[in-house]
């Protein structure tokens, strides 16, 4: 087990190294001088030089890279050009907002998806299965931001029962928090529930076709007991991997959904930085999200190996 964890950890660290190289390299993608798009035409050469120094572009590339690694290893992602504060503090301040949104969407999406997937698998190729499969595919084909806009139109503009956007922190006002988070979390959950349902159905069908299920059937157990006591625990192991994939989907999804509902989370911070070319925030934000993603997937893989010892050999 320790052997598996250390191998998996080494592989993650290599990926993390490449991730940091890619984020460092983003600024190099800019055609021409990156400071030119940040400053207007009237800026003096001194201003340009100062900005270049602030971005570290006045130094040689290896030196830039050494400084960048020196900083990020200490958890310092640099200073935002436009927000006039450190990138790390800006990200950490907004993280709870994004986590609460993604967390609720994750819980709702997993519960609904697993339930729908079990119903579909129990009724394989009959109408409940077809309804679940059809709706899942439809849900996976809807653009998330468009669904958000449509929900805003119906629940905020037509019926006026929920706000069109904005965010109230949980500690300030629990009811207000729930009202502001309801539509964005629903949108995110709806877009991802189909994927969970399809994966659960596939995992359940795999398990339900195995010999021990037939044995349980033969000794006269009820259908519900077979599925919930013997089938589900075994199907949950492959469903665990869904968590890892979903983490990536939800982090990307919140970026767009925060934009639709004007929620001050990590995604909105990064999109704002991208549109205004605030490079330290773009680089820091991308690195931050990638680290979260890699961490979640490392955890999922370790949990998987704990639950299913065969995985440790791979």
């Amino acid at each position: 087990m320790l052997n598996f964890i250390s191998r998996r950890l080494a592989s993650s660290l290599l990926v993390l190294l490449l991730v940091s190289l890619l984020t460092f390299g983003i600024i190099g993608l800019v055609p021409g001088d990156p400071t030119a798009i940040l400053l207007d035409a009237s800026a003096s050469p001194e201003q340009a030089a100062r900005l270049r120094a602030q971005l570290g572009l006045d130094k040689a590339l290896p030196l830039q890279m050494a400084e960048w690694y020196g900083r990020i290893l200490r958890g310092d992602l640099g200073q935002s050009i436009l927000l006039n504060r450190s990138v790390t503090s800006a990200l950490l301040e907004r993280l709870p907002v994004t986590l609460s949104l993604a967390g609720i969407a994750l819980v709702v999406g997993m519960l609904l998806g697993i339930a729908a997937g079990i119903i579909a698998a129990m009724n394989h190729n009959r109408w409940p299965d077809q309804i679940v499969m059809g709706t899942s595919l439809l849900g996976m084909s809807v653009p998330d931001f468009w669904l958000g806009l449509m929900l805003v139109f119906v629940f905020a503009l037509q019926f006026g029962v929920l706000p069109t956007g904005g965010f109230v922190p949980l500690q300030d006002d629990a009811v207000g928090w729930l009202r502001t988070i309801a539509l964005p979390a629903t949108t995110l959950a709806l877009v991802h529930v189909g994927f969970v349902a399809r994966m659960t159905r596939a995992a359940m069908l795999d398990v339900l076709n195995q010999d021990f299920i037939r044995t349980a059937d033969a000794k006269g157990l009820s259908r519900g007991r077979i599925v919930l006591r013997h089938g589900l625990p075994n199907a949950l192991i492959p469903i665990l991997t869904v968590l890892g994939i979903l983490a990536g989907g939800l982090l990307g999804g919140t970026v767009i959904i925060e934009q639709v509902f004007a929620i001050p989370g990590v995604g909105r911070l990064i999109i704002g930085a991208i549109l205004s070319r605030d490079f330290p925030v773009i680089q820091g934000g991308l690195l931050f999200l990638a680290v979260i993603y890699l961490g979640v997937n490392l955890l999922v893989d370790i949990l998987y190996a704990v639950a299913d010892p065969r995985q440790r050999l791979q």
Binding site: L18, L22, L29, L137, M140, L149, V255, I256, I274, A290
Partner: protein
């Protein structure tokens, strides 16, 4: 399936061989046929946009601002008095073109990287860890960043989306190459003196195409969704040419008075993406039996 086809012995008839058999099974697959019809409808609309649309998608008409759907303007008009139906039909042209270009680029780079990684052990670890690194970023955020940094234009949007869709595709190609490379006929080709490159591209890849074709169908769907998201954020293909996403983005400010501006391009995206997803599911059932549930 028609009685005609079932009466025929397997492998016989005008469409012989494995390709013919796959084609017959596709024709009998409900997902494939429904998806195919949806996609065909959108593709035909995009090709024959000039003949289908009663108005110029770019021409504004101040007297016809924000009109609701009617017999004259089927999908209503926007704040410039432009006909939404015409814009959606022409939008299909841009969205599908971008999707197709992303499929071509992803297919080329995904195949190249996946094939090299799967066939040559020495580059495998590095290439795949690089793909893992790209996949560690949320795909949509990666595409937005690349498009914004390069500058929003159609080619840059294609590059941005391809960067986001290639890693997973490469991983799939690598997987099927790994499976095929150990088969006996590959050894036979080597025994006959075929070069490594010839074996890889002529013999191994030809038999690893199934999962790639399935994946590229989904990539097409992903590209249409992602292009719309890029436009919504403001880093998509530049105006005035409409894409599905840019029509929605422009209609957002008029949600109260004119919800139809956003409604119809969204429905068009759903039809196109649902069609491609159904097509992909059908192709997977036939071409990639391992994945079948």
């Amino acid at each position: 399936m028609s009685a005609n086809a079932t009466a025929r012995a397997p492998g016989a008839g005008p469409t012989r061989g494995p390709a013919g058999a796959a084609l017959r099974r596709l024709m009998a697959n409900r997902s494939f046929m429904i998806g195919g019809c949806l996609v065909l409808a959108i593709v035909l609309a995009a090709i024959f946009a000039e003949w289908l649309t009663p108005f110029d998608p770019l021409r504004s008409n101040v007297r016809a601002r924000l009109q609701e759907p009617s017999s004259r303007h089927w999908f209503g008009t926007d704040h410039f008095g432009r006909d939404i139906f015409s814009r959606v039909v022409f939008g299909a042209r841009i969205s599908l073109t971008i999707g197709l270009l992303v499929v071509i680029a992803t297919g080329a780079f995904g195949t190249l990287i996946g094939a090299l990684a799967g066939y040559f052990y020495r580059v495998d670890n590095l290439l795949m860890r690089l793909m893992d690194a790209l996949m560690a970023f949320p795909a949509i955020l990666l595409a937005i960043t690349v498009s914004a940094v390069l500058g929003a234009s159609v080619p840059n949007v294609v590059i941005a989306l391809s960067v986001a869709t290639t890693p997973h595709t490469a991983r799939i190609v690598r997987g099927s190459v790994l499976m095929v490379r150990g088969l006996e006929y590959v050894e036979a080709a080597r025994a006959l003196g075929a070069g490594e490159m010839r074996i890889l591209f002529r013999h191994v890849l030809a038999n690893a195409m199934g999962p790639l074709i399935v994946r590229l169908t989904y990539v097409f769907a992903i590209a249409i969704l992602a292009e719309a998201a890029l436009s919504f954020v403001g880093v998509g293909p530049p105006p005035p040419a409409p894409s599905f996403g840019s029509i929605i983005a422009q209609g957002r400010d008029f949600m109260v008075d004119a919800p139809w501006i956003c409604l119809f391009p969204g429905l068009a995206i759903i039809v196109a993406v649902l069609g491609l997803n159904l097509l992909g599911d059908g192709l997977r059932d036939v071409l990639d039996p391992r994945m079948k549930t």
